[in-house]
Symmetry: C2
Subunit: 130 residues, 2 copies
C-alpha cells in the first residue's frame, strides 16, 4: 500500500504490491543448492535466468546464505582455485533439504489459499465462467 502525501499528484498509487513475493527467493536458493553446490555469484546468475526470480539484490543474497549457514541449512567453504577472487561455495545440508521440503509444503498451502480467494472472487464477478 502506498503512503504518498496528498500533494503528491500524478503518482502511480493504487496498484497491487510489486512483483516480489516474500519468502520466495529462499526456497529457490535451497532448491538450486539441492541440485549442486554453488557460490553466491553463480546463484545470482541462475536466479537471473529465471523470470520468476531475476533481479535479486546481492546484499540480500549473501546475507540470506550466511543466515542459512547460521541456521545449519547450508555449509560453506572457500574455493581459491581458478581465476578471480575466492568464492565461498555453499552446500546444502540434510537439515537444509528437510527445510526445503517444509517450505515447499508451505508454498503449496499458500497456493491453495490464493486459489480460494480467486474462487470467491470469481463467483462474485464471473459467476458464469466455467
Amino acid at each position: 500500500m502506498c503512503h504518498h502525501d496528498s500533494h503528491d499528484s500524478n503518482h502511480n498509487c493504487c496498484s497491487p504490491p510489486s512483483g516480489r513475493i516474500r519468502g520466495f527467493i529462499q526456497p529457490w536458493l535451497l532448491l538450486l543448492l539441492s541440485e549442486e553446490a554453488a557460490h553466491g555469484y553463480q546463484l545470482t546468475d541462475k536466479l537471473n535466468r529465471n523470470e520468476d526470480t531475476k533481479g535479486i539484490d546481492p546484499g540480500f543474497l549473501y546475507r540470506t546464505l550466511r543466515q542459512f549457514e547460521e541456521d545449519g541449512l547450508v555449509k560453506s567453504s572457500w574455493d581459491t582455485e581458478g581465476s578471480g577472487p575466492a568464492r565461498r561455495i555453499y552446500e546444502i545440508t540434510p537439515d537444509g533439504v528437510e527445510f526445503l521440503h517444509a517450505w515447499a509444503e508451505h508454498i503449496q498451502n499458500t497456493r491453495k489459499r490464493l486459489g480460494r480467494f480467486l474462487k470467491a472472487y470469481s463467483s462474485r464477478f464471473k459467476p458464469h465462467e466455467t
Copy 2:
C-alpha cells in the same frame, strides 16, 4: 527467517514463514465490501469466519480502511442509528472495484509463480509422480 541469538536454545527456528501472506487481507476486504457495505467490526467478524483470513489485527484493519479511503477505493459515513457506539460504514467505489480486479489478477500471477516453483521442486524430488 529467524534471527535469534545463538544462546537462545530450544527455539523453533528454521520453519517457513508464518501463516500470513502479505497483501492478502486487502483484496479480501475489498471483495467483502463489493458484496455489501460494512463497518470495521463487521468486517472483522466476516474475516474471522474464514479460516484463511481469521485473526486480523484491529489496528491493521482500521488503518487499512482509512488508507483505502485516502486512496479513493472506499468512502465512509457515520452510522449513529442502532445500539452501541457509532459505526463508520465503508462502501466500495468504482475505483475500488477496479483495484480489486487488478489485485485479483496479481494474485493469479502470484499463484502461477508458486506453481512454477512447485513444479521445479517436484521434478527434482518427485520425478515419478503423475
